[in-house]
Structures are given as C-alpha cells and as structure tokens.
C-alpha cells in the first residue's frame, strides 16, 4: 500500500493540498483512533506516506510517545523544525529493538512518515533510514488495515 503511493522528498518537505476521495474519508472515519497509539490518528494522512530528510535536533525515547525534531531545509534554504511523533519507548524497545541512543542529535536521517493531512510540518513515524543505510522500524503494521482487508 505504501509503495504504491511512495513520494520521495529528498530535501525539505512538500506542502500538499488535495481533495479527499470518499474511500479515503471512509477509512479515516473507521480508524480515527489507533488504540495502541494513545491518541487519535485522524490528523495524519495514513494513505500517502512521504519521506523527509533532515538532521536530528532532539530525540525523546519515552512513553506514551517517543518523538523527535528534525531540522529540515525548507524551500527557501532555511532550516525548519519538523516534529515527528512515534510509538512509546516501551513499544519501540520491546517490538522493534530500539535503544535509547538509536537516534542522536546530529544524525542525518530519512524519516518515512504519515504526514499531517493539512500539509503542516509534522507526522507519524513509520521508519528511519540512517546515513549508513540501517533502518529502524517504528511501526510494524500499517496504522490502519488496507481498505481491501477491512470487514
């Protein structure tokens, strides 16, 4: 599902506006709250992940959410803070093998995220690709089941 909609943003992030299809709206309606995620997912576009490249400014490995702030070069060449949230440290450690120092300030990474639906900077982390090519998975399963699998 994600590859089909893959959109790579090599540097910076791309603000996007678009109309939602009935199908997309239906999926979001049914899956507004991801129970493991501690809060609603209504504000993320779960259907069209994007990739954001930047430098880790801050990483907090805590419950109920871990989060990081990426410093991303915007269109005007100016660094912009791009906040990304993800699963709690408990989940990342127990299920995905993350460590407290998996991400450090200064690391240059590519973050694959579910972006904000309104195009604002920010998103929900799916995985990180470090500069050495190593991947850190944040979400083992899609935040919602693909439409074809829904009952």
């Amino acid at each position: 599902m994600e590859n089909k909609h893959r959109m790579r943003v090599e540097s910076g992030y791309r603000r996007r506006t678009r109309l939602f299809t009935g199908l997309t709206a239906t999926v979001l309606l049914n899956c507004g709250a991801a129970a493991w995620a501690h809060h609603s997912f209504a504000m993320f576009d779960l259907q069209k992940p994007v990739e954001v490249k930047g430098t880790v400014k801050e990483f907090r490995f805590v419950n109920p959410h871990s989060w990081l702030i990426l410093s991303v070069t915007g269109k005007a060449g100016k660094a912009v803070d791009f906040p990304i949230e993800t699963n709690g440290a408990f989940y990342l450690a127990k299920r995905q093998g993350w460590k407290r120092d998996s991400l450090k300030a200064g690391d240059v990474i590519v973050a694959r995220i579910h972006p904000m639906r309104d195009g604002a900077p920010g998103g929900d982390l799916i995985k990180v690709t470090l500069s050495n090519g190593r991947e850190l998975i944040a979400r083992a399963v899609p935040a919602v089941a693909p439409p074809v699998e829904k009952k």
Partner: protein, 283 residues
C-alpha cells in the same frame, strides 16, 4: 495462601512472584498462611470504628480466615488483538445507542473526517478509565491478594483496586466518582465476577467515541484458561443514558512471562509538542 493450591504451574517466575508477594503479605499481616473456612463463615468486611471499613491491607483484614481463592490471577498479560475493528481494542459492534450517544459519535466522526479530533481523552492526558484501560495496547498486571485484586494497567500508569474482602459498594452519598469506578469482586466457581459503579461521566468513553456516564455499570467475568496462559474477561455493561440494554463483549489476554510494566505518564505540556496535538480540538 495467595498463590493457592489450585495453581498447576511450576514456573520459577510464578514461584518467585508467590514468594515476593508472600513476603509482602507476611510483612503486612504478620501471618504466613491462611486457614480454610467454609463460605458461610466469611463475614463481610469489618466495621472497625467510626463507621470506617477496615482497609484492604489492614492486618486484621488480611489475616481474617477465608477460603483460598479458587484461581490465582496474578500475572502479566498482553491484550490479544481480536474482533472486527481495525485494532481489536474497541467493543464492537455497538449496541443500539441512545440519541444522545449517537449524536456525540456522529459529531466526533464528522470532525475526524476533516482531520480533527473532538473531545479526545488520552491524547489530551485525560484518563481512559474503565473499561478502556483494560483493552489498550499496553499490558496489564493482576496482583491477587486475599482481600483485593490490584490491576495495574500500563496505559497512563493506571491502578484498579477490586475489593474481594466482602465489602459492598458504598452508599450513593459516600460514592466518590472516578474514572475507574468502585470495584468489588466475588468468586463464582473459577470465575472472578467484578462489579464496578461510580463513574465520572466527563470525557469518559466506553469504546471509541461512545461515552459512559454516571449510570455506567460494568460487570466483568474474569477467568483463566485451563493452561493458565489466556485470561478472559467477559464484559457486560449498561448505561441507559447512552445505549439500550446490555453491551456484551469478550476480550482475551495472553500471559507474558518475560514482560513487566513500565511507567507511562501523560504530561500535557509534552503532548502539546506532538504534531497530533495541534489538531486536537479538545485541548
């Protein structure tokens, strides 16, 4: 004593848990074993003085002769994802909702369709409360004592106290409303039947988008599978302000022997830094 004779496991971790809890119990109660008595001999929780009910961990309460519990629920359990919703954590399908509850759900759904959240609980650091703390992603721990079962739910570091010392719910004027309610339990065969009332009705949800009010009444029938590795809770819930009749749903949990609960505290100012928070109209 607490880990009773019906336990069929020889797991070292269970023995360790038994030893630790026995030590705690011994220290609190000053005794190391309980004598078995017939159910008819069990007195309700004692009134100690000035109308106060003896505390569940009072020495006199812990040391009161009681029959051993038929099952020891002590353990760490992970919610088992089953059911018809995407995550299996909600109580689907819904019963017939009242007009009031349906209107709320419709409003919440409409907000989500536009990428917003309406009157969310956890995302704004409000408590989930019962029953939702029993069905989230994070594990739960049961610690069974002679007078109470303590349930630790990792999500937002919640604690439930289920009194099994024979006490009843307080009279209405003494019932202080909470998100987890007031729980009392008794054994029916191998099943712990837990009755919970006294809920706060403000931003308290039974299932995603369906409110629970002050009339919410939750009955849980809690049992262990024969191999003691699957915990099952049959929920029966009523709230005439929000749905019609009984709302029944069964959830299952897998025993985890290599897992503990960690601190999980929601801090409003920290949540406010998250991208999702900016779209949460309930803040």
């Amino acid at each position: 004593m607490m880990l009773n004779s019906s336990s069929r496991t020889g797991r070292s971790s269970m023995r360790a848990a038994a030893a630790m809890t026995a030590a705690l119990f011994g220290a609190l109660s000053g005794c190391s074993r309980q004598e078995q008595v017939a159910p008819a001999q069990i007195a309700p929780a004692q009134i100690a003085k000035d109308g106060q009910i003896l505390g569940a961990l009072a020495k006199a309460n812990l040391s009161k002769p009681r029959p051993p519990a038929p099952v020891d629920l002590t353990g760490t359990y992970n919610f088992k994802v089953e059911g018809t919703d995407a995550n299996g954590h909600e109580f689907l399908p819904h019963p017939k909702l009242t007009a009031k509850a349906q209107a709320f759900l419709d409003k919440k759904t409409a907000y989500r369709a536009r990428g917003f959240e309406y009157l969310e609980n956890a995302g704004s650091c409000w408590p989930y409360g019962v029953p939702q703390i029993m069905t989230r992603y994070w594990p739960v721990q049961f610690i069974q004592l002679p007078t109470m079962v303590v349930v630790l739910s990792m999500v937002t570091s919640n604690v439930r106290r289920i009194y099994t010392d024979g006490r009843q719910h307080p009279p209405d004027e003494d019932l202080r409303l909470t998100y987890n309610g007031h729980s009392i339990g008794h054994w029916e065969g191998q099943t712990l039947v837990v009755d919970t009332v006294g809920f706060i009705g403000v931003r308290h949800y039974v299932s995603d988008g369906v409110p629970g009010g002050e009339k919410l009444h939750v009955v849980e029938r809690i049992s262990l599978s024969e191999d003691r590795n699957t915990l099952q809770i049959e929920f029966t819930m009523t709230d005439p302000d929000h749905w019609v009749g009984e709302w029944k749903n069964t959830k299952r949990y897998t025993r985890e022997e290599y897992l503990d609960i960690e601190e999980h505290i929601c801090i409003y100012e920290e949540e406010a830094k998250l991208p999702a928070f900016k779209k949460n109209l309930s803040k």
